[in-house]
């Protein structure tokens, strides 16, 4: 099976400290891959390698390959701005721009010039908000400040903002950890719908969530990728003792 993103022998160093050890993992297209593991295991660092959000960290050093559609994203010829338009990101805390709802979604298409005229932009905004399941709630107040939405609505707005540039992959770094159960349920539903169009990678601390929404799960521990496989299989018959210990709640 061809992977959308294929990570090969990734080693990541923050200065002297090594954060990831020889990680190789394939992320299948049109599927949700969940990254699980105890805090500080390297799963967020791994996620941030996939769209080079780690670039801003000083003294960062990286070995290995991250292939997106067969092309190494760490190749010097790759423009990181272009890369991020293909690999979008949703963060732990909702972080809308302090502008209107409309402008939040329109920002990505604007900087990448993805539309011809105003009506085309309107369409992109409506389509993205509809996909993010937010359109019905905000269609009458698109010019209202985005920061006045509730936490769950803000996070769905951030998802709409990410899909407005039509990326191939969406990375989510614990997108529900700041939300209440009802908002979380909405986002999970949304993730399941988005899977058909995008390749999703989600970091989560919530094992039930990983089991509910992902098709593939990868378990990280102290910088090592311990085990990866079909979600059902990994949760019912883990091969490694550490995976077994983590998913049964013995540590982590």
């Amino acid at each position: 099976m061809a992977f959308k993103i294929d990570v090969q022998n990734l080693n990541l160093f923050y200065g002297e400290k090594q954060a990831l050890f020889n990680v190789s993992l394939g992320l299948p297209a049109s599927q949700t891959t969940a990254l699980i593991g105890p805090s500080g295991c390297g799963k967020s660092s791994f996620l941030r390698c996939l769209n080079r959000m780690n670039d801003v960290v000083p003294n960062l050093h990286l070995e290995g390959k991250v292939l997106l559609d067969g092309k190494d994203i760490y190749d010097p010829s790759v423009d990181v701005v272009d890369l991020r338009s293909h690999v979008g990101m949703v963060f732990q805390k909702p972080n809308p721009f302090p502008r209107s709802i409309y402008e939040n979604v329109a920002y990505g298409p604007r900087i990448h010039r993805l539309f011809k005229d105003k009506s085309a932009l309107d369409q992109i905004v409506e389509k993205s908000l509809t996909r993010a399941g937010l359109w019905d709630e905000v269609k009458d107040r698109l010019q209202q400040a985005a920061t006045r939405l509730s936490g769950g609505q803000q996070q769905r707005l951030c998802i709409a903002r990410a899909i407005a540039v039509n990326p191939k992959v969406i990375l989510m770094d614990e997108p529900c950890s700041a939300l209440d159960p009802i908002a979380t349920a909405k986002i999970e539903e949304l993730i399941d719908e988005l899977r058909e169009k995008f390749t999703l990678v989600i970091v989560t601390h919530n094992l039930q969530q990983a089991a509910r929404i992902s098709q593939k799960t990868a378990f990280f521990h102290s910088g090592y990728l311990v085990e990866a496989g079909e979600t059902g299989e990994l949760f019912t018959t883990p091969k490694d003792e550490r995976t077994q210990g983590y998913i049964t709640g013995r540590y982590g």
């Binding site: 959000m53 338009s85 963060f91 900087i111 920061t147």
Partner: protein, 354 residues
Amino acid sequence: MTSNLRKRHRQEKWFQRMGLFSLCLALLFLGIIFGKILITGLPAFFKTEIEAKSAPQHLLNPYAQYVDQGKWTAASDAVDMYYKNGYPGTLSPQDSQSIEALKSQNKIRLSFNGAFFTHSDSSAPEMAGIWGALLGSLLTLLITFLTAFPIGIGAAIYLEEFAPKNSHIYWIEATINNLAAVPSILFGLLGLLAFIHFIGLPRPSALVGGLTLGLMSLPVIVVTTRASLSAVPFALKEAALGLGATPLQVLFHHVIPSALPGITTGVILSLARALGETAPLLMIGMVAFIATPPSSFLDPATVLPVQIFNWSRSPEMGFVENTSGAILVLLLILGLLNGLALFIRKKFETHHGF
């Protein structure tokens, strides 16, 4: 346990009362200062006039006789002082009597002293005004703004957003922070050396004054701008970077708009400080007696606080109220600038939901 709790509550009450007391004390002193300046300064905005025909020549203002030929003519300084404060000064008893006579016939009155706002400095207090100093302040402040604003903002943006974190940059940062605390008179010395001795710009001009005050304002602008830039949440930059914005787009689309209220406030407050500054301008010779308002940046000029300083050293009684009057005008302008800063801050504050 309960006694301990009571003690802690008592401590808190005591601490609050201490704070309230200090606040009241500060307000009291502020009230005394303002009251004194108001009482002394307000008469400067009015002048005594006499119906010219009914008064002896020597009671009229020697300058005014040539200036206004109308029915009412400005009285001399001594008459002005006597009419306003009952202070006889150099007046003879006969003069006092004739003033009292004019009073009873309603032939002497107070009217608005337009000259205080339209005239420049003069050796006669009743003819002296703040116009020249006001114009000098305006020209000087313009130069200060034009130099300190772009350079300060540029330096702050570079240091905060782009500069590599190495030891050279660290020393530059430390130096700028220290410069913000350097006594202003040292900047006057620097201005004297750099702009007058080295470059050779004309001595007491608004240009040199403005450049000197610009030097003084620079570190403050850099420090306040950096503080407002660094207060922009990293999550906001991350959001834009994650969408594929370039660092420059992140800066101009998100960071600067979010930091703008803080930056403007910092700039306005440092300009207000420059407007009230006296010491560095004394060093570069702006303390001279200047009776004609400057018509260009190179003309000899003085500024409002220096004018106040000059008048406060003059022996004539009339300059006492002139001094306080000019202080009132300066305080009014400073108050307006501070109000503007507050307004901008409230109006353009962005509310981050995170």
